[in-house]
Amino acid sequence: MKKIVTILCLSLIFLLGLTGCMDNSKLDPDKPVTLSVWHIYGEQTDSPMNDLIDEFNSTVGEEKGIVLKVTNMTTTPDIKDQLDSAFEGAPGAPEMPDLFSARPDTILDIREENLVDFQDYFTPDDLEEYVPEFVKDGMFDDHLFVFPVSRSTRALFINASQFERFSKATGVTYQDLNTWEGFFDASEKYYKWSDGQAFCAIDYPIQSIEYDMIARGNVPEYTADGWYDISDKALKKSFMRFAKPLAKGHIVVSDKYANTQIMTGEVLAGVGSSASINYYNDEIIYPNNTKEPMNLKVLPLPKSGTGMQYMPVTGTGFAAYKTTDQKAEAAAVFLRWLTQGKRNLDFVVEAGYMPVHNSAFDAIEDYDFPSPAHEALFDAIKTMKKEYKPLIRPEVKGYYDKVEILYEGLKERCPDLKKRADAGEDPKDLAEELWDFFCSLQ
């Protein structure tokens, strides 16, 4: 009898132990949960993210009971305002999405109690498989609110068809564009050769100025208002390096993204995000409707001085709006699936980003790229990864609002300054006017 009781007790303990191992997932394939998604991958393109979402829905999603529905495709600059409107419940604003593309600054106004901490779903061992800087970038205090999916950097994109003619006529080579000094020299030569056309359109020029300053051994300081400490002499020096060619019209601030100015033949080159690769047209079309192939060439960013060079790392991850545990778990399942090795690499190559999973980064070397332009881009990224140090600039509240004012102001002022420079005014004085405007934003 005693034996039987002992066996029964042991069996009971074993069964109780088993219940601890049972799946306590909130997901149920018979009652699927739907997540609305806002993302920034391919506003005008055949979105690789949408293709992946379709694949997820028909495989893992179906198996686990998760349906992802894209309700907004937008751009990085726009998504913050759209999210803020949705979060505040502004009149006419759509509902907050369950899962959305986010930079760390995107979620500054969405309080932390409203966001999913992905550490609840990814163990420290899981997170060790991701590039540590990218994970760190999404941390707020001890919470992982922005999960890394892809990261971008910036590069120099060139219309090679036109550059070859320019090079033949002036002797300027791609090698000359290795440094900002060579780049500005080339832009002056192009301006003369093309009878007054700008050489390059620059997306985010203030960040090029900031990275120039850092590469020359200085650290930018920010004020409480979210702007630069304008008393910093090193800041002014770096600013003036870019302000002079801007005032002379040798380079311009991009209308929005440099690719549009390259494809219309307005400029020869553009400095922009690696992710813009998918937005480059296959042809350059000039105002008289003559066309030529783009032959897009991609080079690493020009270097500043001779010291350590820094590679800008930007780009968005995904954040999840906290509603139910079921939705939070579903979001984590999707993000884990999305960032797995080869899938992560396929996605980022197509979208023009850098991978976030260590195994995907290692596999770049032997990857079969979809186009020569993609291959050139990843060659440039590879060079920068080897010779430059990745650097994520700090997020400062209010900064991007001022940056937008800066760019609009520069675009408004520069055409007039160019005319005055052409008329013989001292470019240094004109650049000082731009510096005064920069300082006025404080």
Partner: protein
């Protein structure tokens, strides 16, 4: 006797039971008929089928109404542009050829029309809107015969603050209106963008409300966007 009396009693009981059964049967038949009459025995499948069928009819009506409204908007735009060209710009018939190789005039026309197109695009909740002129900015390019100047504004159908891009047209005109060139932007149309363009051109005649057509489903060149394009056929 006693036995006979018990047998008689049994026969009565049997008869009563039979009547009761008959009555119960009748009652059940009435209830069943009533339930049938009020549709209580319809299967869930049948109900779903009817409900979906009803929804489909409503949806069909909505789609019809949507395309009719697009067609009406398209005809109205066509009349507006014709009046604008003939009365406002003194361009009509053979005079249309004066637009060929005339970049300044084409830019002026596009600048004047882009705001109207934007407004109408928003009004009609369409994915795009276009105006195509029978003229080209450069009549000596290889594809000049099929190249036509004009404007095509494309709307991102998802939410976005800056949701209209310039798919075809002069880029500076679009930028001034706050529309960036689409990544597959071209300066001019290729007539192949319209399925069966030759036939449309051959059949072009007035009145517009009889000759307009909605093209078959087509994918916009360089994009994954599938569109039905409403063409007011009397374009000249």
């Amino acid at each position: 006797m006693f036995i006979q009396g018990r047998q008689f009693k049994k026969t009565m009981q049997k008869q009563l039971a039979a009547y009761m059964l008959l009555l119960a049967g009748l009652l059940l038949a009435v209830i069943f008929a009533g339930l049938l009459l009020f549709g209580r025995f319809d299967t869930a499948k049948q109900t779903t089928y009817e409900s979906l069928n009803f929804q489909m009819k409503i949806f069909e009506k909505e789609v019809d109404a949507y395309f009719n409204s697009l067609a009406a908007g398209s005809l109205d735009l066509s009349r507006y542009v014709t009046d604008f060209l003939e009365q406002g710009q003194n361009i009509s018939g053979k005079n249309f050829e004066s637009l060929n190789n005339n970049p300044k005039k084409l830019e002026k026309l596009q600048s004047a029309l882009i705001g109207v197109l934007e407004e109408r695009l928003k009004q009609h909740n369409a994915s795009g809107i276009f105006v195509m002129f029978d003229a080209t900015v450069n009549s000596v390019t290889d594809d000049a015969k099929t190249s036509k100047s004009g404007l095509y504004l494309q709307q991102n159908r998802f939410l976005s603050n800056q949701d209209i891009s310039l798919y075809r047209g002069i880029s500076s005109v679009g930028k001034k209106q706050g529309m960036m060139p689409h990544r597959k932007w071209r300066l001019e149309f290729q007539t192949s963008i319209f399925p069966d363009y030759d036939q449309i051109e051959r059949n072009a005649q007035l009145p517009l409300n009889e000759s307009y057509m909605i093209t078959s489903k087509t994918v916009l060149s360089g994009t994954s966007d599938t569109e039905h394009i409403t063409v007011p056929a009397a374009m000249k």
